[in-house]
Symmetry: C2
Subunit: 557 residues, 2 copies
Amino acid sequence: MTLSVKPDSLAVIPLGGVMEIGKNMTCYAYNDSMIIVDCGLKFPSEEMPGVDIVIPDIAFLEENKDKLLGVFLTHGHEDHIGALPYFLRKINVPVYGTRLTLGFVSNKLEEHRLLGNAALYEVAAGDVLEAGDFEIEYFQVAHSIPDTCGVVIRTPAGTVVQSADFKFDAHAVNGYNVDLTRLAEIGKENVAAFLCDTTNAEKPGHTGSEKEVGESLDKIIGEAGSRVILAAFASNIHRVQQVVDIAEKYGRRVAIVGRSMIENCRIAQILGYLAIPEGVQIDPADLDAIPPEKTVIITTGSQGEPLSALTQMAAEEHRYVDIIPGDTVIISATPIPGNEAAIINTINRLFALGADVIYPPIHTVHVSGHANREDIRMMLSLLKPRYLVPVHGEPRHFHHFRDLAEGMGWKEEEIFGLSAGDVLEINETGASVTGRVPSGSVLVDGLGVGDVEDVVLRDRFHLSTDGVIIAVLNVDIKNRRLTQPPEIFSRGVAGEDIAESLLEPLPEKIDERLQVVFTDNGSNPEAIKSAVKRVVSRHVYDKTHRHPLIIPIVTEF
Amino acid sequence: MTLSVKPDSLAVIPLGGVMEIGKNMTCYAYNDSMIIVDCGLKFPSEEMPGVDIVIPDIAFLEENKDKLLGVFLTHGHEDHIGALPYFLRKINVPVYGTRLTLGFVSNKLEEHRLLGNAALYEVAAGDVLEAGDFEIEYFQVAHSIPDTCGVVIRTPAGTVVQSADFKFDAHAVNGYNVDLTRLAEIGKENVAAFLCDTTNAEKPGHTGSEKEVGESLDKIIGEAGSRVILAAFASNIHRVQQVVDIAEKYGRRVAIVGRSMIENCRIAQILGYLAIPEGVQIDPADLDAIPPEKTVIITTGSQGEPLSALTQMAAEEHRYVDIIPGDTVIISATPIPGNEAAIINTINRLFALGADVIYPPIHTVHVSGHANREDIRMMLSLLKPRYLVPVHGEPRHFHHFRDLAEGMGWKEEEIFGLSAGDVLEINETGASVTGRVPSGSVLVDGLGVGDVEDVVLRDRFHLSTDGVIIAVLNVDIKNRRLTQPPEIFSRGVAGEDIAESLLEPLPEKIDERLQVVFTDNGSNPEAIKSAVKRVVSRHVYDKTHRHPLIIPIVTEF
């Protein structure tokens, strides 16, 4: 579909799934120019068994791809860059991002064998780019990955600022705070609309500084009597830097363990975002050669992810690291909603193996990368935008953001709670939602992009709760009879012996029922199938109160 | 197996699964007398698809059932009474509990058609019972369900106190605080061991009072401009009582919605634990007849349970209640770990429908029913037991309890971190773990108790992530050939069209491969099956990177 926006108006369109607005991808259109900011993925919910990742549906962008001038990335987190391989395969436009962001992007595109064809352009905080009718300025913000930038998007119809994921951190590692001076200047530009990260809009006060975590880790590692194992988000390079510095201070060697941690640290070291002094880093295979009280292991698994290093250690299945009494394990992260049970399971297993486990909120070993309410207030005070668009959140965050903004004087009609696909039209006279474009999510499972849909998920869910029963029938069509007794198989319904005795009466019951079907309906395969389904389902429910998926297979002779 | 405990020694044995010790069931044995305290269930984890509940394995008790004198219940929560129907079917001994506890038990046993045969004996706080060599005293504690009691278990070998789930609440609704006076007296008895609820051993300070919630709800409901919908745990009768009282104060009528809330309120009203003044309660079907600002709906779903009333309302699928803008929805509970994503989903949907949703920790609309660290300290100071046994918790709680107790002067060897099945032997000379009895969990799925085991769960999990492919082969054994081309079916692998084209080349590939098998191995069905599995699995993985469960079905002719 063509986007119908008034000439000389700026359209702002969040794209992707319904519940997380303006997180993974936002489209800006002005006359014949179009850009997108970020191109990220979501991780599947419990209702999507087997699904690897969820990416925005870009059908609308494909239909307008001749207008699309580029992808402007704010930072290197998966929810902002993870859909790029799928996007670039369909729409190969230039990609802009900071040095570290492009480092992560390059690595990802290489894995997908797309790096050779991609046009990647490095930008730095302070840079101002032009693309068609757009001017795009990058300004530095603090976040849980270095080199994060917000963007100012200037058009003749007005200026929009998108915060990116941000927090304020005057005590940030390596000076990565919000560029307050520049922000104050931007605030004088008569900003039309501000798309604000609302992740922490429920949380009171200010977000803590990364350095507070450093101080806390310094104490814990300094006092630890034996080995220290620290799990963090693999992209949290500043956290890793702090742990490396503390390890060096206490004469400990550092081993980096876990695929994504190794990869990210390698990239960050090459690009100059992580400095590990000569002689500090050791190979995980060499850990045994060093006294445990002289080592720190930095690793993945802070979310209890099934295949991650810390989860494997907790399950006594890791290649190099056996947890032993005396180990101090630090979970330097808070659970992303949905991961709580998994990380609690990891913590329990580690305690059961004799480790001392340190985790928030009991200890200050993590701070968020997102602005709490007071930080959001500070941002709004600096930018003084006319209209507000809460993004990077869910309805609950938008509600609390609205509350906050109304408390600061914005009027209800100046705050736009957009849905994905909504077209917010901005021009000199004002702003309003003037239409919708197709938007949604696409599920990726293995090599399949979009082939797993509701029916498939329903089947999988059904299979997972009650298993499957297969009834094989060889039907002699002409003579209206089975050529041999029905064969019944099950998987995931009950243990072998019990399943056997459960299924045992079925061939006879099916046979009986089919006598009637053959008489009434002849050898109609659909009638046979539905009769078999009914017989099996009834019998199994009576005996077990379970509802397995029943697949009758009729072979005709 | 027979329990081998020294004569005149008291054995304390937590039973059930590994990660939650002494929560659902604890066995006490002295010479030829044996009793159990509580008989509860666990809810299944994510790794148990399709499982309804998890109950303790009671094989050990069955083998000793001639010695077993009774079940002593501390309170009416599912994790303390939920396994009774399964237990009583196998071991029908007397059951003791307070009035409300037995009210909930009776209802449950009636559903299972077991009430007629059960011997239920009502006890009250202060009662002292005798059973064989045991004397059992019930003492009142505060908890999130009325009529909760801890137990003092006296034997010639020494006295053990089991806290039950408890908190202190000097401001409890209807005066249900811990009986401090009695507790102080018990503390003078030279208590040998104390089994302490450690649920909140990670949480600093004191647990808040139920009345604080009441004050907060009073303000919210008093200021609400329209309808109020409040979701709480269905057994939290004091919470319901407070809401009813507040509703009456503001001239609102109360409708109770949701099966378990209706059931529990009915029982609590009959037994005198819940008082709803004449004319306040209305039938949910009559809600439409009353102005919304004059109603409060009390309901289930505070954990985002899929079939609960609030979840249905959020999904716009509830029979009587459509959420409309202006509704105030109060989630008067915190998520049990593992339920976070579900409840957040409910909250988001409610906001999206225009409701104002009030939930902790932003608002004080819930307090825990368990003792925080300062409350645990107070309990230990009052009881002054020689030995400590952390129960009703996981390894992480036991670790923090141990820390706390060591800080108060208990020595490492005086604190017993038991595993389920461990036999803690207590006599006048001391206490030590002297053995183990069989213990574990049994999964209940529909009518099946224990027939769903690891293999079944693995199959279900496998089915849920990648679906199933069925290959049907009719083999002419004598002539070593297929009587017709293989038929291939799939469910849960990919959408219909894509699955069709995915499977399309398979019959030919299988045919080719089977030529070789027939030549090399004749018509050996196992060789045929394994060859087919390999061909299908390889093809599907190459094309999709998925690993469905592959079921080859060979019919011989």
